[in-house]
């Protein structure tokens, strides 16, 4: 394997304070980032994701240990040298005023241009490439303040790419975006890592997306240690579940998703095999019901999904009676009515 772009050895991160002893956030961090790799930094709130990112970005000196960027001590690089190797996209939405997309992207050439900031043809090419890599070349002339949050985020990424960094750090880049934009952004970042031979590290709260999209996960534990591995491995060895354990939620290792933990309401039978059955099952489980397995004895409630002249119909059986519902919402209401009625009788 090639040389790591970023390498930390026995790194300890935290805050130095004027009067008190330094506040340690995490220590013994031995991390490696390789070109072409997309790594997601995960961890519960307060575990120190931002502190780690700031330390790696050269904005907050480590308490101890080594931090090397392409073989050189990161904190010995001049601001300009650092900016040529490493670019960041921060989480806060910036109001840049009235700048065109292209002008803002061109700001990324800052560490490459002379005192006047005049752009050479070489700079123009880098800007064009950044705009195209992110897919915003079409609206290069538009003003940034006319853009949506998702587009704006892309401009900030294009600006970072214009720096031509070996390492791209992003602090919660998906925070303001809706789900389709998040998936799109993750895909974009993967492509940028693969095609550009650069390393991309992003912190995120989007566990599902991280599990699906990252090459590696860096999982900060609440105790201040870090676990590194491919996403699936961290699920298998329980590190994932450990980091995010908490009241009311549980990580379901089978589905790879977080589920609400309610006290179970009761068992219910479900008959049906199509897509409607899949989502009916999810709805019932969300309401706290356990859907019977093959070997369970018949339950008092049963939902059977029928197809009547192309229309899906939910038939709720209770003892010897049944009732048909045209929608899932009404079915759920019916199930709950029966369930609560039965419980009051007891």
């Amino acid at each position: 394997m090639s040389e790591p772009i970023l390498q930390t050895d026995d790194l300890a991160i935290g805050y130095r304070t004027r009067r008190h002893a330094p506040h340690l956030v995490a220590e013994r961090l031995d991390l490696r980032l390789y070109p072409g790799e997309l790594v997601c930094l995960l961890g519960p709130n307060g575990a120190g994701k931002s502190t780690l990112l700031r330390t790696l970005a050269g904005m907050q000196p480590p308490l101890r240990g080594q931090l090397r960027l392409a073989g050189t001590d990161l904190y010995r690089l001049s601001p300009q040298e650092l900016a040529r190797r490493l670019a960041v996209v921060l989480t806060d939405r910036v109001e840049v005023g009235n700048l065109s997309v292209r002008t803002l992207t061109a700001l990324g050439r800052y560490p490459h241009t002379g005192w006047s900031g005049r752009l050479t043809p070489r700079d123009e090419v880098a800007i064009d490439q950044a705009l195209m890599a992110v897919g915003i070349a079409d609206f290069a002339a538009r003003s940034v303040h006319e853009l949506s949050d998702g587009e704006r985020q892309k401009v900030m990424i294009a600006r970072a790419l214009a720096q031509e960094p070996q390492l791209l750090l992003l602090d919660e880049p998906t925070a303001f975006l809706d789900l389709p934009r998040r998936v799109e952004l993750m895909g974009l970042l993967r492509r940028l890592a693969r095609e550009g031979e650069r390393a991309v590290l992003l912190s995120t709260h989007d566990l599902d997306l991280a599990l699906r999209g990252a090459d590696q996960l860096w999982l900060l534990q609440p105790e201040g240690s870090i676990q590194v591995g491919v996403p699936e491995e961290l699920v298998l060895n329980g590190a994932f579940q450990h980091a995010f354990r908490g009241a009311g939620v549980a990580f379901d290792a089978c589905t790879g998703a977080f589920v609400f933990q309610h006290p179970p309401m009761g068992r219910i039978d479900l008959v049906g095999h199509d897509l409607a059955a899949v989502w009916t099952r999810r709805a019932l489980e969300r309401e706290g019901f356990v859907v019977s397995g093959h070997e369970d004895p018949p339950a008092t409630l049963r939902v059977a999904i029928h197809d009547q002249e192309g229309q899906t119909v939910w038939r709720l059986h209770h003892e010897d009676t049944y009732q048909d519902f045209p929608t899932l919402s009404q079915t759920l209401r019916g199930v709950k009515t029966h369930w609560f009625a039965a419980r009051t009788e007891q």
Binding site: A57, M59, S78, P79, Q80, L82, A83, R84, L86, A87, V88, L90, D92, V94, E95, V96, G97, N98, L99, S100, R102, T103, L104, L107, G108, Y110, P111, T113, W115, S116, G117, E124, V125, D128, Q129, L131, M132, A133, A137, A140, A141, S143, H145, Q163, E195, G196
Partner: protein, 364 residues
């Protein structure tokens, strides 16, 4: 990145070319307007002098009346030059402060320079005025002591702020420090005023009205290079100013030595605003209004355009304000600060009430 992309260049769109054309013609128009306003400013004043005579005097000829030559050469010409220098200095330093502090209300005096100069002048006029017979002495010596005291006061506050800028990490802390210094010095001025006789107070208030008229050729020899240096520094800082549009964290990540740039921005602003205040009094309003006006006209926050535009627009506005204040054809002269505010306030209101509002032009 793949090799095929290397050759592709994104062509500028029609609207981009159009707005570029508008921006360059605006800059050119401002330069022409500045020259025209300069000529108007020299041509019109309390004393009516025929235009042909003005041209004769300006081209080095002899006027029909020697007093006309004197008025134009010894009074109007230095006054117009001072107006250009002061207007440019205040507008550019206002732009710098608004970007540095990411605050649309910032002006060159935001760090208390104005208050420091006022304190210096107040000390001379109000505290020592009675003892030295200041009012009978408003000749050369009076002017010089006034300027010296304004410089001393402005330098004192500026020095404190610059030292603080060296070790304070956050620009906002600096802003609050400057504001508090301003309040404290204003308070001392109030106390001085409270214990002064009306004649002294009037002399002090006359200074606070501001004027470009008191600057002689000899003083211009000091003022011009100082402001030239400050403006040159502003041009050199254009690139980091643009990076600062994204905030200090981003600027730092792109390789800006934020602490150093901030130091030079504050030092430059202090020199520009301090020199103007010392020689012309506290000229209000231009520093806060001109940058907004230029952003609105250029539809841009790009400092490569804004620095030259505010420079020209500042000089132009100062010339026009001075022309109005001198009430051509009459013997009266209006307070300069009253004119800048009365003419400028409607412009700022117009900017604020525009469809987009200042939010679109300025990072708030």
């Amino acid at each position: 990145m793949s090799a095929t992309l290397d050759t592709v260049h994104v062509p500028p769109t029609a609207s981009q070319t159009r707005s570029d054309l508008w921006r360059w013609s605006l800059l050119g128009g401002l330069a022409i307007a500045l020259v025209a306003a300069f000529f108007l400013n020299v041509a019109f004043g309390s004393v009516r002098i025929p235009l042909s005579e003005i041209i004769t005097i300006l081209t080095g000829g002899e006027a029909s009346k020697p007093s006309w030559s004197y008025i134009v050469l010894a009074f109007r010409l230095p006054k117009a030059l001072t107006a250009i220098l002061a207007g440019a200095a205040l507008a550019v330093s206002g732009l710098q402060m608004q970007t540095l502090f990411r605050n649309p209300l910032a002006d060159p005096y935001i760090l208390g320079i104005n208050a420091g100069a006022s304190l210096g002048v107040a000390l001379v006029v109000l505290a020592t005025g009675a003892a030295t017979g200041f009012l009978s002495n408003v000749g050369l010596l009076g002017d010089l002591s006034l300027i010296a005291s304004a410089i001393a006061g402005a330098s004192l506050v500026t020095g404190l702020v610059i030292v603080a800028a060296r070790w304070l990490r956050h620009a906002m802390t600096l802003l609050i420090l400057g504001l508090m210094l301003g309040y404290a010095t204003s308070a001392i001025v109030s106390i001085l005023i409270y214990f002064s006789v009306p004649e002294q107070i009037q002399a002090y208030i006359a200074w606070t009205f501001g004027s470009f008229g008191g600057v002689t050729w000899r003083q211009l020899l000091i003022l011009a290079p100082v402001i030239g240096a400050g403006l040159l520094l502003a041009v050199l800082l254009t690139k980091p100013l643009n990076a600062l549009l994204l905030g200090e964290a981003y600027a730092r990540s792109m390789g800006v030595d934020v602490q150093r740039v901030r130091f030079w921005l504050i030092a430059g602003t202090s020199v520009l605003a301090g020199a103007v205040t010392a020689f012309c009094g506290p000229i209000a309003f231009l520093g806060v209004a001109i940058p907004h006006l230029c952003r609105a006209l250029l539809h841009s926050s790009d400092h490569r355009l804004l620095v030259p535009a505010t420079l020209l627009m500042g000089g132009l506005a100062a010339l026009l304000a001075d022309l109005v204040a001198s009430m051509p054809g009459s013997r009266t002269i209006l307070p300069l600060n009253a004119v800048t505010a009365l003419l400028g306030a409607p412009i700022v209101v117009w900017i604020v009430l525009r469809r987009d509002g200042p939010r679109s032009d300025f990072s708030s």
